[in-house]
Each structure stands twice: as C-alpha cells, then as structure tokens.
Amino acid sequence: MTGTLSINGTELRISLRGDEVLLDLLRDLGYTEVKEGCREGACGSCLVLLEGVLVNSCQVLAASALGREITTVKGLGTFHRPHPVQEAFVEAGAVQCGFCTPGMVLATFALLKKNPRPSEEQIRHALDGNLCRCTGYVKIIESVKLAAERMAPDGR
C-alpha cells in the first residue's frame, strides 16, 4: 500500500507493507535516530511523537499512521540550534552511551508540553516507559528539572 507521512515537517509519499511497524519504516527511510531496542514497547528507545503524542514506534502499525504527523528527536532541534531539552540533557550529564537519549528527550518534551512544572513524582511517572542501563536515572531526572526551569519563562 502507499500513502503519505509527514516526518519532522517533511511530507513523504511512501510504500509500505500492511503488517509493518512504524519503527521499521522510519529506520528504513533513514531516520536512524529512532532506535530499535526491545521491540516490545518496554524500553522506550523507539519513541516518537505521533500527532504530538508520545508512542512506542515498535508498537504502532505504520499503516495506521498514514496521513499523520511524526516527530523524531531530530525534529526538535539541530546540532547548532538544540532544543532546551536537548541542551539540558547535555549540561546535566544525562547522556552516557546515548542509546536511550532520543526516547528520553522526546518523553521529556511531551511531559513539559502537558505539564511545564512537573514534580519529581510526575517526572518519574512520565518517564516510566524509558529504560536507561547507564545513568541510574539521577542525572536524567535532573536534566528534566533543568529543562523545565529553562522552558518556563518564555514557554518555548
């Protein structure tokens, strides 16, 4: 089947299989910032925003996303103009091997969009779908708080 997808603001016409998951489609199209981890919806490495909603792309049938807007972590900011969430992750030292980072950044972005001043419990709840095997989460929670502080004044 064929259809269109808007990925990070770029409209693409694509062919896909009916049983294909969004993760495979995105990676095949070159969006390798969407990481493949458990393929069971447990690790959060493959998170993307589908119409602004945080989802595990390994648990989304690609056909059901046709005509919709998808944002990957590269859609938030660039190397030279990073998003405040991305900056906060770097500054707080929340990145070690970096494999979980795209998912963590998107989960943080989705949280702060809904709730600009989350409590620590709310942060932990919002990031409950993201596993990190390096950091022990302390720095990640700190970076979410830092990003919340930075984003609060201008509401960016």
Partner: protein, 323 residues
C-alpha cells in the same frame, strides 16, 4: 618537511577511512532505501486495510471475512500478525469522547488509557486512577478502551473497575445494540463481526479502592482487586468486589459482598475484614514466578487491605500499588 605527505597521513586515520578499509557493506542512501522497500513490498502478501470515516460503513466492513477492528492499541501486534488478513482502522470514526451527565459517564471506545484518565481526572475517579497505573506512558497513550475490552488480558487494569461499575457497552455490527459487560464477556459469539463503540458507567457516589499485584511499577499485575462501596449511617449499604487475573479471568466476590452488606463498620474494622478474607474463594494459575498458593495467600491479604482502603477511602493514588 613535506606538508602534503603529513596531510595525507592525517586523512588516513580518519574513522571514515578506517571503516572503508574494513570492506564493510556501504550503508544505503535514502533513494536506495526507498527503492529496496518498493521491491520488498511487491514480494509480500498484503494485509488489507480499511479506513471508514462514518459509523454507517462499519457493519458492511465487519461482515467481510477476517476483518478485525484496530483502534491503535498493541493487542494485535502481541497476538501476532501472521493470521491477520484485514484490519479496519477506527481512528477516523468519532469514538473519542467522554460525556458526563446526570450520574452517567459515556466513554468512546477509541479513547486511550491516557485520554480516559485525563478526562476523568487522574486522581479522582477510580477508573482514572487504575488506568494511570497501567503499563507505561507511551503505551497508555495507545491502548484503547474498546480493544482492551475485546482482548481482555488477565493483567488488564481496565476490566476490574468496569466490571465493578457494571458497565454497559454499545455495539455496532452483527450483534449491535446495548449489552452488559458481563454478558459480552460470557458470550463469545457477541464479539463476532461486532465493534464496541462506547462504554457507559452509572457513576453514583462510590468509595473505591484499586490494588494491582506487581513486583515493579511497570509490571503487568498478576492479579488486581477492585472494591466499590457505599456507606450510610455507619453501615455498608452496598459493596462490589472484583478480582481480575484469577482462574476464569475474573470473579465477582458475591459471597464476601453478601457478608459485608448491611454490616456495621466499627472504628477498628480488622475483625470484619478478617472474616471477609476467610470467605475468599478463588483460584489462580501459577504465573510470573508466583505459585498458585502464593497468589491465593496474597489475594487474601490484599483483599483486607483494599477493603480497609475503600472504607477509609482517602488513600492517595500511587501507581503500581493501591489507588
């Protein structure tokens, strides 16, 4: 000194050159990826997808052989795609609503757990609290009410509260009309060629508590207990207790309910709760490393605690445990 030679040497140790020297297959360009995907698509038998825009189109689509409704959840993927021939995406139908009027709550079947919890108030309504504790944030954003009811996994955080509220379903298709949730679950024929469009709860003023038995916050519960009760003048007027995850998938504890209804609630209800736990007649299959005996013992203890929590009725919501 020959500067050009130095530059050549520096270039040689760039990672790209090192990778080239390993003779690895060159990564595909975007254009090549798209071309390769087109070839792949032509080789594989297609699953037929339907995208109805109006509810009127649904019965005809469901009447076709092998068409399964899909509202975005994960159940179809978990069940495996090999036997699926056709899927009907219901996301374009207007099945995402929450209408609260006169003690009745109508929930659209395509609402996700997160959307339902947000609509009901995450820390207020018992159903909102149980859904907040389910799975993980990105999964809560996808799992839908309708899909969850029709799949009904034993770890469901939705079904206990719905059964306790004695929810009613609106169905479209071969078995269209309004049906009680209990009837829908017991008669499997009702699921054939039928789509759940909405769920209705009669929301009187209940005191409630919900418990999920897990090892970690994001575990699937081995079982869950839902308690709804109403008190009047120091007596339990009405109580509903549902255990999900036991043998037979769920059980309404009518013997315990009968024992409690009409009972006076003393300031220290521990004796009453002990009697209730002794009346617990329930079986489990061993799962997640828990033996049947262990699960039964845990259920008896947690029944007492959940009842106590419902009687106190002010315990804070805490995902992964009691709410």
């Amino acid at each position: 000194m020959d500067n050009s030679l130095q530059r050549t040497k520096a270039a040689d140790i760039r990672p790209r050159r090192l990778l080239d020297s390993l003779d690895l297959p060159r990564p595909r360009t975007h254009t090549e990826s798209v071309a390769a995907r087109k070839e792949q698509v032509n080789e594989v038998a297609e699953i037929q997808w339907y995208f109805p825009n109006e509810l009127e189109e649904v019965p005809d689509l469901l009447a076709r052989e092998g068409v399964i409704p899909h509202s975005g959840g994960t159940g179809i993927l978990w069940g495996g795609m090999t036997r699926i021939r056709a899927l009907m995406d219901v996301s374009r139908l207007e099945l995402k609503f929450c209408r609260i009027h006169g003690g009745t709550i109508d929930l659209g079947a395509a609402l996700s757990y997160s959307e339902t919890a947000a609509a009901l108030g995450e820390s207020g309504h018992l159903l909102g609290r149980s859904l907040c504790a389910a799975a993980t944030e990105p999964l809560r954003n996808r799992i839908s009410l309708g899909g969850s009811i029709s799949m009904f996994p034993y770890w469901s955080d939705l079904m206990g509260p719905l059964l306790a509220y004695e929810a009613e379903l609106s169905l479209v298709g071969a078995n269209g009309g309004a049906r009680g949730l209990g009837e829908y679950l017991q008669n499997r024929d009702l699921r054939q060629n039928t789509l759940i469009t909405s769920i209705r709860l009669q929301d009187r003023s209940w005191q409630g508590a919900y418990y999920r038995h897990t090892r970690t916050l994001t575990d699937r519960p081995a079982f869950s207990i839902t308690v709804l009760l109403r008190q009047s003048a120091g007596r339990i007027e009405e109580v509903r207790i549902v255990v999900v995850g036991c043998s037979g998938r769920y059980k309404r504890l009518s013997v315990v309910e009968k024992l409690l209804e009409g009972s006076e609630v003393p300031s220290d209800p521990s004796e009453l709760l002990e009697q209730a736990a002794q009346q617990l007649d329930i079986d489990f299959s061993a799962r997640m490393g828990f033996s049947t005996e262990y699960l039964r013992a845990c259920a008896a203890i947690e029944l007492k605690r959940t009842l106590a929590s419902a009687l106190g009725s002010s315990s804070p919501s805490k995902p992964g445990s009691r709410s």
